[in-house]
Symmetry: C2
Subunit: 261 residues, 2 copies
């Protein structure tokens, strides 16, 4: 029998509402480093379902146009960036935004079938939390604490996937630099790795390693104005290099345990 798929598409083309609707949302796992902790942006929901619960920022994708006909179609990354700005204020400009994956189990939203496209955003540490225009409350929360909260929908799973992606990407990409402002010191970069991986790293070895990976960082030639708050020499300042992949990679310790069941 041919035509089953083709017929479905044909129907869809001529009467797009012949099927029960599927809604598409974007949710964003926005990560930053604050106070030496990896933190995630959570918003408090004002509406049902899960009213009062903490959730990842997100919302419905604008399809061709909205009901009032005024809004243009938007790409998925655009939608993610828009939701972030709407719910956490325009001050939050992620330096990196990538797709994390899609979550579409039936029943994940009690109202209807919803497919959520999750995005992962990295931002440099921000001075303060910014309750946005859209959400009742928006707050940076340490991921260890967020993992223990009863997040709305399947956001706990999405958060866990996002954190694992971030941990993994720090190994073989220069994305740690997306968590710091330029220019930065090697110690600031090490802080990022320690916060995301959640384990201390040997300062000396880390330093030599970072400088030995071609294209990871680029010296600016200048130093910090002063030494650290508790003493020490002034540190050299660096910019991001031009590498897109770290080679050799900066592998996190203790991969062995995770590798075997």
């Amino acid at each position: 029998m041919d035509g089953t798929d083709g017929t479905r598409e044909f129907l869809a083309a001529y009467d797009p509402r012949a099927y029960d609707p599927v809604a598409v949302t974007v949710d964003v796992v926005a990560l930053t480093i604050r106070d030496g902790d990896l933190q995630v942006l959570l918003i408090r929901r004002g509406e049902q379902p899960f009213a009062g619960s903490w959730a990842l920022p997100g919302g419905f994708v604008r399809p061709q146009k909205a009901a009032d006909g005024t809004k243009a179609a938007e790409d998925l990354p655009q939608a993610a960036a828009r939701e972030l700005a709407e719910e956490a204020g325009p001050a939050l400009r992620p330096s990196h935004l990538e797709q994390l994956g899609s979550y579409g189990a039936p029943g994940r939203d009690p109202r209807m079938r919803v497919i959520s496209v999750a995005y992962l955003a990295f931002a440099p540490g921000l001075p303060e939390a910014q309750p946005g225009t859209d959400a009742a409350d928006a707050r940076w929360t340490p991921v260890a604490k967020a993992a223990r909260l009863p997040l709305a929908f399947d956001h706990a799973r999405i958060l866990a996937d996002g954190v694992e992606r971030a941990r993994s990407k720090l190994e073989y990409t220069p994305l740690a630099t997306a968590f710091v402002r330029e220019p930065f010191t090697v110690s600031e970069l090490r802080e990022v790795y320690q916060s995301v991986w959640g384990e201390p790293l040997h300062a000396g070895n880390f330093h030599r390693k970072v400088l030995s990976v071609p294209g990871f960082v680029e010296a600016t030639g200048s130093h910090t104005e002063a030494g650290g708050p508790r003493g020490g020499p002034r540190a050299k300042l660096y910019r991001r290099g031009d590498a897109t992949l770290l080679h050799p990679a900066l592998l996190r310790p203790a991969t062995e345990e995770a590798a075997r069941p």
Copy 2:
């Protein structure tokens, strides 16, 4: 202004069709090794748009229930497996299926807004191609050749992403074993790596390396019945091991070029 997002959700809950519909499809990049080549399953489209073009197997996700009320809701991986079976026959049972990503640029489908969730499937080499129940034609095509075809929609991009994902995953996971049938020899495994990466590997070093990674493969204790077609000793046979991550990883040569712009 609060409530913008909440209102949208509220509306969606009470009148899910207040918005222009967004359709959700799954598309599958199904890879196998045939004749020493990495090949992808392509189907020929019978319907508009792109009638007559080659495309990845895929189709619409069944939401809550279909229009006739008989079909149950399905999870996304289920939908991917179903499309594969419908379009390439039930003989094609992937030994690995993972989500690749979602593609939702406005205009990627000329009819309406369509978000496609792409899946990546690995299958052991099959004796023959199997035109399925659903598609007019289904054919295994070497990826090098498929990349030059004018595929429907943005399937060329999806295919490229899938191939790159496969190449990358062979480095740090034991997924190469998903391309072979058990029991297998180290040489068969090397064939997989060579086909996917597209470069020759040193047989001796590869052999020692594979056996040295804990949990990658597990000896069965037996040998092949006969030597190779052109001579050589009989090879030991192995099963997949219990590792989920290869440590240390099997890095492909020439990562350096890709790392710098």
